[in-house]
Amino acid sequence: EDQVTQSPEALRLQEGESSSLNCSYTVSGLRGLFWYRQDPGKGPEFLFTLYSAGEEKEKERLKATLTKKESFLHITAPKPEDSATYLCAFSSSGGGADGLTFGKGTHLIIQP
């Protein structure tokens, strides 16, 4: 069964303390792996799409990486405005639903 597991569920960091969020996935045919940021009361905001193992993408303090079984979202020297829930999702070519399959998210809090 296609599924996504994100860890940790919640993470509290001090400003400037770098860390990584994990997204483990099981899918019959990966079309794309997506990272979104979601602030309270808002819809998910697109961050990155990764398509193949070994691929990396960066944006400001965030870098996403992809292997055949998992993806990491690395946060370097985070600031309080990076506090949000980070969602991982994939699209599948395996004949399942056409939508994205999401994990439950990692709730990140950056303390000043």
Binding site: S91, A97, G99, L100
Partner: protein
């Protein structure tokens, strides 16, 4: 340019009432998706349109849920005889290209702000 918009942003319904939720996708986007997000969970897929055609409705939880996109732009998600378990945020997303077929950088989905439905 304008992003995906949804209305209303908040809806309170009494159990048994019918509700209609509207989504205006990004202009020119071919694909449109509806998701349901329960508190503390990730979004769950409900249904998918390619232009006006509903190609996948495998995620609709019951026959009380109905979606349409008659002219290939605006979409409406209708829930009949609402139940308390229908309380959730309903998210709409649009994508510029058809997701099936070759992988491109344009199958990314862009989400609206959501409609928070509370059924009393």
């Amino acid at each position: 340019g304008a992003g995906v918009s949804q209305s209303p942003r908040y809806k309170v319904a009494k159990r048994g009432q019918d509700v209609a939720l509207r989504c205006d996708p990004i202009s020119g986007h071919v694909s449109l998706f509806w998701y349901q997000q329960a508190l503390g969970q990730g979004p769950e897929f409900l249904t998918y349109f390619q232009n006006e055609a509903q190609l996948d409705k495998s995620g609709l939880p019951s026959d009380r849920f109905f979606a349409e996109r008659p002219e290939g732009s605006v979409s409406t998600l209708k829930i009949q005889r609402t139940q308390q378990e229908d309380s959730a945020v309903y998210l709409c997303a649009s994508s510029p290209d058809v997701p099936a077929g070759a992988i491109t950088s344009t199958d990314t989905q862009y989400f609206g702000p959501g409609t928070r439905l509370t059924v009393l």
